[in-house]
Amino acid sequence: MTPDLIYGVTGIAVFGIGLVGALCAQERLRRVLALKLCSVGAGFLLVVGAWREPPDTPDPVPHALVITGIVVMVSATAVALALIRRLQTLEAEDDA
Amino acid sequence: MTLLAFAFALGLPLMLALALSWPQARGLVWRMMPAAPLPALALALLAPMPLQTQAEWLILGLHFGLDDVARIFVIFTGLLWGAAGASARHWMRADPRATSFGVMFLMAQTGNLGLLMAQDALSFYAFFALMSFASYGLVLHNRDTQAQGAARLYISFVVLGELALFAGLALAATQAGSFLLADLREAPLSGMAVALMILGFGVKLGIMPLHFWLPPAHGAAPVPASAVLSGAMIKAGLFGLMALLPLGNIAFEDHGTVLMAAGMVTIFAALLLGVQHSSAKAVLGFSSVSQMGILALGLGTALLVPAAWAMILPVLVFLAAHHAFAKGALFLGTGAFAAQSSLPARIAVAAALLAPALVLAGLPASSGALGKEALKTALGEGSTVWLPWLTVALSLSGMATTLLMARFVWLIWAAPPKAPATTAPEALLLPFATLATFALTLPLTWPLIAGAFSEPITAAPSGALWPVATAAAFAAGVAIFAHAQRIGPTVFLAQLFGPARSLGARIDRMITARRRAARRLGNALPRRLGDTAIRWRLGQTATAALIAGVFAVELGANMRSPDATEIPQVEMPELSTGVEVQGPLLPTSE
């Protein structure tokens, strides 16, 4: 069990958990969180790609990719949360 | 030994007739009725020909025998009597005068079979008279006004005929110096004798103007009796002429001409008279008259030109057999039809009746057409003066018969004859079906029955359809016209296109219903499917399933070594370069 393998398998597992959540969850917030999990898992996998057998230095490219991915995901989450809030407000108005 | 055989053949019906007078035996006798002609049939079918025997000791010396012609007559006559017997057994089951009918029936049968086997003039005459007079009882059987009138007419003519026959036979026997029929045929008979004999047998044949008795009698007699009267007994007249006249030896031009002219008149006059009748059986009777006219044409030609007789004889025999079967089937079928009570059965029987009717009318390749064609060929041997007329007459006779048959079929439907109340409807079907089958298959079975005699028939062309078709079309037209006249043209048109209209309406309704159902389904099904899809979270499930599926497929493809030949090799485009620019027009960037 090399560290990169452990890391990679963990990444796939996290992605899988997120995927199951995204597909099965009914609540809006929970689905957003599940999608976040997916993104984290995918990030793990990319980082693993950067791993090189010491003494080689890790590949810098995936780090750049992961950072980009995180930024993208943050904005996506923000949009999703904003939508959810807006929808909740509208629904609350209806109930009132 | 041979004599015994003949005695048995003729004795059985006679014995049965006698036995009927014994009440205890009646059941048995009626049950044996269909078997009465069996010995005669067996004799005709099995015995080697020619057969000859005599009983000099009996009366003035009786001679019995069978030759090729007589044999064939015995066969179809016997079959007809058998079938009629089978039919009569059921027809007469509850009839109060069944015994009397049975006796007369069996007596007439004896006479009929006997005259065919007789080889001398006396016994021939005796059997002929037995048959004729016994038939009086058959005609009179119903005892109602119609039957009494018919019987009176019948017996008058029979008497007339018997007288003429007797006189003729007597003359002939004198001139020939012998009673033997064979001698009579060879003898140079006088014109008078021949004329008298023609008169006598002509009555039986119903050639005009001697036909008056025939249709009423056939109409009045009970169905089984009509069948034998028309199918078997009038053939006795033909047989008599063939057996007694010196055909093929001496020419009697005047007689021949008269006979031929009478035949021609008969063919068409019978049509004109027949279509006016409103009783189905009488129409059948006229049809018989018309058919006998055809036979008279043959006989007349032979009288005119003796050389033609060798050709004509087999054809006449065939036509006789043909008519016997077809007409017998028609009469028995009439009875069978009348006995049916349910509409489907009636329709079925009526449809089955069409078969012998068409055979009689001369549908191509049927026995009727073959016979007529053969007769045309045979008549070619005769007078060239008459030939064109005869040919035309024969062709047109098909039309005449068709029209009569159309009238018959119409009448049987519109005014069916009465059947006894207690008849078993099915029981009457078998005799009818048997005879109809014989009528239909006669062209096939004829070589078996007739042997060498069948040659002109098998060689005959199958005949033309047009007489039958034209007449059928004409009859249909007349029927439609009459129908339209009766119910009025407007109603008629409405009736005519009613089925089309209702079919159209039904199709329209069906289409409308279909469309409505489809619309309902179209509304309901997608909604239900959509709900199901949402309930099962189809899209989400499919996402997972597809990931797994595509992965599996790809992995599987990886495992298999890709088949290089299957995929066309392509050269991939240049996708990236060390230099920045590809293509001449781009500015360099650095």
Partner: protein, 496 residues
């Protein structure tokens, strides 16, 4: 200008370009619209006359434009095309006059005349298509253009049957697409060539060729109202009278029949089709249609519906003549293309006049209409007698040739068929004439005010076409008569 190679395109454009202009015209500028309509129609007749003169002199017109690699949009003007264009051009002119009168105060006239023009453009395009692909383009255009015309009135009744009409016509188009594709894949070309392009295919894979024939004829049979596919035609009779007239006489059913001609003669080739053994079944199918249509016609009380079923029957004469595979029958078929058009358009316009002038829409109301509208009914009677096939009217000529052709082809049953059909024609037309001329009107129409008032624009067209019926039959052997022209065509198709 004397030898314009683009002449076919001009002819197409006279109606194709008129359409958008007519659409755009405001509803109230009726006079301008009529002016454009009539001048375009007249221009087309003139151009067609010129074109036919040129073609008869042997000039070949062939316009091509590549749409897909190897697949061309192709217009050609062969004699067969001329026959059909001439019919549509002349009848378009007449029908335009009639429609202007018919719709004088009706709604949506802009829409109507726009689609009317499109419809004729499509018909002309169909006539001049040089390959099946082009044919398909115009065939679909025709379907689309007739669609708003037929429901122009937008009756409630019609919408019940709406589905059938749409399904039949568009499904026919789709199947034709399938057939065209099949031809393209099998033969590598869709061109119309006298003698056919499929001889090799038939030799190699007769089954595929047979299938292709069935698909193509099935598709075209929908428009030609061949027996199992005829149901849409009687439904379409709710269209306004000029539309029905055009639909039955020129545009739709004729397009189907014309397509069958092209397919049999120039896709398969008559000899190849015969070798394939598909012509006799087609002839039998046509025969069934003839009888079936007549039988259904008898029971219809609605005049237009009766005429519609009569069309079902009569158009199949054309198919029959094509399928008999004999040159003489082919002459009959082609002549009938024209003659039936003339006769049927007369009858529909007359029926329209009856409905407009007297409110008579049913056969049972026709008592005495002859006295009320003698001109119209005279025209109607002439056309009806022509349909029955009385000499010297046009219908007789085509029937005569068909019968001769049937004998020549050894298909004797055709005689019986034609006799039976004539009888049936008589059964359903003669009562109409009887009612019109020999029955008294009084009781039937409630409060009909004296003489009906219909303008000359309604009255003249049927009389004109009736005269043409008489002329086409009476002068059948004169030069430039339809019959003469068909002889010219048949000589080409049979490559004599």
């Amino acid at each position: 200008m004397m030898d314009a190679p683009l002449l076919p395109l001009f002819i197409l454009m006279t109606s194709l370009l008129a359409a958008p202009i007519l659409f755009a015209l405001p509803e109230r500028s009726a006079r301008l619209r009529t002016g454009i309509n009539l001048s375009m129609a007249a221009l087309k007749v003139a151009l067609v006359g010129w074109l036919s003169l040129k073609v008869s002199q042997g000039v070949i017109y062939d316009l091509r434009f590549e749409m897909l690699p190897g697949l061309e949009f192709k217009l050609q003007a062969d004699p067969l095309a001329i026959l059909f264009i001439a019919l549509s051009a002349v009848l378009w002119l007449i029908t335009t006059v009639y429609s202007v009168g018919y719709l004088e105060h009706g709604p949506h006239r802009a829409r109507f005349f726009g689609f009317f023009s499109l419809c004729v453009a499509a018909t002309v395009g169909i006539a001049m298509s040089g390959n099946l692909f082009t044919f398909l383009l115009f065939y679909e255009l025709l379907t689309l253009a007739t669609y708003p015309l037929v429901i122009h009135r937008g009756d409630v009744f019609f919408f019940i049957d709406w589905g059938i009409y749409v399904i039949y016509t568009l499904a026919g188009g789709l199947v034709l697409l399938l057939g065209t594709l099949g031809l393209w894949v099998l033969a590598g070309t869709t061109d119309f060539v006298p003698g056919g392009v499929l001889a090799d295919v038939v030799a190699e894979t007769p089954l595929a060729a047979k299938l292709l024939f069935v698909v193509l004829i099935g598709a075209l049979g929908v428009k030609a109202a061949l027996f199992p596919f005829h149901a849409w035609l009687p439904i379409a009779m709710v269209a306004p009278a000029p539309v029905s007239a055009l639909l039955h006489a020129v545009a739709v059913v004729k397009a189907g029949a014309f397509g069958i001609m092209r397919v049999v003669y120039e896709v398969f080739g008559i000899e190849t089709a015969q070798a394939l053994g598909v012509t006799v079944p087609l002839a039998v199918l046509a025969g069934i249609t003839i009888i079936y249509g007549s039988l259904r016609a008898i029971t219809q009380d609605d005049i237009k519906k009766r005429l519609a079923y009569s069309t079902v029957s009569q158009v199949s004469y054309i198919t029959l003549g094509v399928a008999l595979a004999s040159p003489i029958a082919a002459i009959g078929a082609l002549a009938h293309l024209i003659h039936q058009g003339l006769m049927k358009i007369t009858m529909f316009m007359a029926a329209g006049n009856l409905a407009e002038g007297l409110g008579v829409k049913r056969v049972s109301q026709m008592d005495g209409v002859g006295r009320a509208m003698p001109g119209t009914m005279l025209a109607f009677s002439l056309a009806a007698l022509g349909m029955i096939g009385l000499p010297p009217l046009a219908g007789f000529v085509s029937k005569w040739y068909l019968a001769q052709g049937g004998l020549e082809a050894g298909q004797d049953w055709v005689i019986a068929l034609l006799l039976g059909s004539s009888l049936l024609n008589a059964i359903y037309f003669l009562p109409m004439l009887h009612r019109a001329w020999f029955c008294d009107a009084a009781a039937q129409r409630d409060g009909a005010p004296g003489r009906p008032r219909i303008g000359w624009m309604l009255a003249a067209p049927p009389i004109t076409t009736a005269v043409l019926v008489l002329v086409a039959g009476g002068f059948a052997n004169a030069p430039f008569s339809p019959l003469e022209w068909t002889r010219f065509i048949v000589a080409i198709e049979y490559q004599e």
